[in-house]
């Protein structure tokens, strides 16, 4: 199963490498990773998506918790949550394709953020699945470049991850 683990990490040099190192050292895989400081500049928030059965995920969270730099973490997929990922995608768009791309972008509530006579740059925001679906939908259009941020997320409702 796919899990989204959100971590509050001390904003210290070397902290990120400890988290990433743990995954490679213990043979866990990282599907995506995002990291940036939070409103409190001594803390970074890290979101990792990974796959594994319950046992593996339990081990991953236990080992992450053992890292001295990890202040707190939550497995967002354990409860209701909101996940978002942002994708910038640059496609070739000429002639009839321009309309087609436009329509597809509309359907996905994507925005065309840059235009040249032959190229569209599009921004898509949503779950990773939605981003995948968008890529599938423009199948047939020449993709020049894709940049995805990886998943970020929060729990729904009252539940918060904070110190």
């Amino acid at each position: 199963m796919r899990h989204i683990i959100s971590i509050l990490l001390e904003n210290e040099p070397g902290a990120l490498s400890r988290v990433v190192g743990l995954f490679s050292q213990r043979n866990y895989n990282i599907e995506s990773l995002t990291v940036a400081p939070t409103e409190d500049h001594t803390l970074s928030r890290l979101t990792i998506t990974t796959v594994g059965d319950d046992r593996k995920i339990e081990q991953i969270t236990k080992h992450l918790n053992k890292l001295v730099d990890v202040v707190k973490l939550v497995d967002l997929t354990e409860g209701a949550h909101i996940e978002r990922e942002l994708m910038l995608i640059k496609v070739k768009a000429t002639g009839a394709q321009r309309d087609e791309v436009n329509r597809t972008a509309d359907i996905f509530r994507a925005q065309i953020v840059d235009v040249t006579s032959t190229i569209y740059s599009i921004q898509v925001v949503g779950t990773s699945a939605k981003l995948d679906a968008f890529l599938a939908a423009i199948n047939g259009i020449t993709i020049l470049e894709v940049a995805r941020t990886g998943v970020s997320g929060v729990s729904r409702g009252e539940k918060v991850l904070s110190v």
């Binding site: 040099p13 400890r18 050292q25 046992r55 081990q59 918790n65 001295v68 110190v163």
Partner: protein
């Protein structure tokens, strides 16, 4: 400032080796007399000596090395300590802050290199941070599941011309690090009920009991219950080996009765153990009929390999104390009849006498006889540090440790070269105690340069070398699994004369070749109380360690001798 902080932390001894990046620190050492520095002859030995000191005393070992090669030489010792959860502080010099990242002379990324083998690490950026970082490092290294902590210090940070107002913090608080204290009462209650209702129970305990200072309580619990107990290689001494409830060590080279009792038990109480593959044999066949109760301070150790039915996270002492209380107040009475039957079954297994020594012919010495002799002449009361190989297993099997912290060996990493420097660290911790290193001629050659250190500091370590003229453990596997093809495991024709070697370093060397002389000569050697004696005992080179677990089997599957298996 660094040395002052170490002193304020209560450090009396550090093991180290100087170099460019730590010269300011060495100058500070020169100018004081509170912290004693021991000059080793190789940084790896500094880490093992500090490790031996820590295992014997329970206090953290402290190491000081220079940048680059000094730091990388320390890596094996850090990994050794990490695998066995030994508290250690390694201070490594680093090039000037301004040079970091430039591939400067003797620059290595020590924080990076050591990352997977430390509990935590620090890179000091400001001189004023030193006291705080030292305090934090000791706190992290010694609490919870202990482990090594690296402090990497760029040379400019220790520059004495950089003054700051020094004050050593009294305590530390880390928002991201907490130490589990008491176990969950509900869980402990549940475990106690299962334990009391058991018909074929066994206690399986390990290094965590020793590290957690839980030996006395464990002994009380075990004797109150009247249940059988087995220790891991790391846990020897946590329960008195001469007591009748003790079944010996379990695992790959454990006794027949310990492994059989584990396999056929209905309740296993694991305390301070990690269900290591050298214990469990094939996980899917492990203790098929048993409920697993697992107590450990490290949540990540629980259900890592074997799923626990009742996991309890907490310190060994607090959990056992709670258990003792709950046993007193519980209405469940131990089923004495079932327990009697269980002990009868165990006594049947004991009759196999799996550690029976069959004497050789022609006055040839069996390695097991050397350990038996050592046990006798030291009255079972020595500190025994071991290297890695057959001799290590013989020492674990035949030296009956009644006290914790007497058996000092590299269990998790299995580091050849560990034993001698560790014995040196033990001797420095306890100058009047008998510190023995049981080694093989292979392992000893990995850190023999420390003979010089022992001369310099008058350390009368007794080195008992079970000389089988081969990398015996490797050769044993080649005998058993590779048709006796001894690929690079023998070197009889090129062994040094260890007697002359010991003498060249200013020590005493002694060779024993006949069984009939063993006891008398060993006694002579140990009578030389103030001298380091290298005792080169020529033993039967064809001997194997038995019992031995059969790969792919369960714990009851063992090879018992060259001709017998279960």
């Amino acid at each position: 400032m660094l040395i002052r902080a170490l002193h304020d932390e209560g450090v009396e001894l550090i093991y180290g080796y100087p170099g460019g990046a730590v010269l300011h620190i060495y100058d500070a050492i020169f100018n004081q007399d509170k912290v004693e520095h021991i000059l080793v002859r190789h940084e790896q030995a500094a880490t093992h000596a500090a490790d031996g000191y820590a295992r014997a005393t329970g206090r953290p070992g402290v190491v000081l090395v220079t940048s680059g090669p000094g730091a990388t030489n320390a890596v094996t010792g850090i990994a050794t300590a990490f695998m066995d959860s030994i508290p250690m502080i390694v201070i490594s010099g680093q090039v000037d802050s301004s040079l970091i990242g430039s591939d400067g002379f003797q620059e290595t990324d020590m924080v990076g290199i050591s990352r997977p083998i430390v509990k935590h690490s620090f890179m000091v950026q400001n001189p004023a941070d030193i006291p705080n970082i030292v305090k934090k490092a000791f706190y992290i290294a010694t609490t919870g599941r202990p482990g090594p902590v690296v402090i990497d210090i760029p040379k400019d940070v220790t520059d004495p011309s950089k003054k700051f107002k020094y004050s050593y913090p009294e305590s530390v608080k880390l928002r991201s690090y907490s130490v589990p204290a008491k176990g969950h009462t509900g869980q402990i209650k549940k475990a106690v009920e299962i334990l009391l209702a058991a018909k074929r129970p066994i206690l399986y305990t390990g290094g965590g009991v020793i590290q957690g200072e839980g030996s006395a309580l464990l002994t009380e619990l075990t004797q109150k219950l009247g249940y059988p107990i087995t220790n891991t290689l790391m846990g020897l001494g946590a329960y008195p080996a001469t007591d009748k409830q003790f079944l010996g060590m379990l695992g790959m080279h454990g006794t027949y009765e310990a492994n059989m009792a584990m396999h056929f038990s209905d309740v296993v109480l694991g305390i301070g153990v990690r269900f290591d593959d050298r214990v469990t044999n094939t996980i899917s066949k492990f203790c098929p009929g048993a409920k697993i109760l697992h107590v450990d301070i490290d949540p990540a150790s629980i259900s890592k390999t074997v799923a626990a039915d009742v996991p309890i996270v907490g310190s060994v002492t607090s959990v056992i104390e709670d258990m003792l209380e709950l046993i007193k107040s519980s209405d469940t009475k131990i089923d004495r009849k079932a327990l009697d039957l269980w002990w009868k079954q165990i006594d049947g297994w004991r009759e196999k006498d799996s550690l029976k020594v069959v004497p050789a012919e022609n006055d040839v010495i069996k390695p097991q006889q050397v350990i038996q002799c050592l046990y006798e002449i030291t009255n079972g009361d020595a500190y025994v540090s071991s290297d890695v190989g057959q001799h290590q297993m013989f020492a674990a099997q035949y030296y009956k440790f009644d006290k914790p912290r007497r058996w000092i060996n590299s269990g998790g990493l299995g580091t050849m070269g560990f034993g001698f420097p560790a014995a040196m660290g033990v001797q420095l911790a306890f100058p009047d105690a008998v510190s023995v290193c049981v080694t093989g001629e292979g392992s000893f050659q990995m850190n023999l340069q420390e003979l010089a250190t022992c001369l310099q500091y008058n350390l009368p370590v007794k080195i008992v070398c079970l000389n089988n003229q081969a990398l015996g453990m490797v050769k044993q596997w080649q005998d058993m699994q590779y048709g006796g093809r001894y690929s690079h495991s023998t070197y009889a024709e090129s062994l040094p004369d260890f007697i002359k070697l010991a003498e060249a370093y200013g020590h005493v060397g002694m060779r024993i070749e006949k069984l009939s002389e063993l006891k008398q000569k060993m006694t002579e050697a140990f009578a030389l109380k103030d001298r380091l004696v290298f005792i080169d005992v020529m033993v039967d080179p064809m001997e194997h360690v038995y019992p031995m677990a059969i790969k792919g089997g369960s714990m009851k599957d063992m090879i018992l001798s060259k001709t017998e298996r279960t």
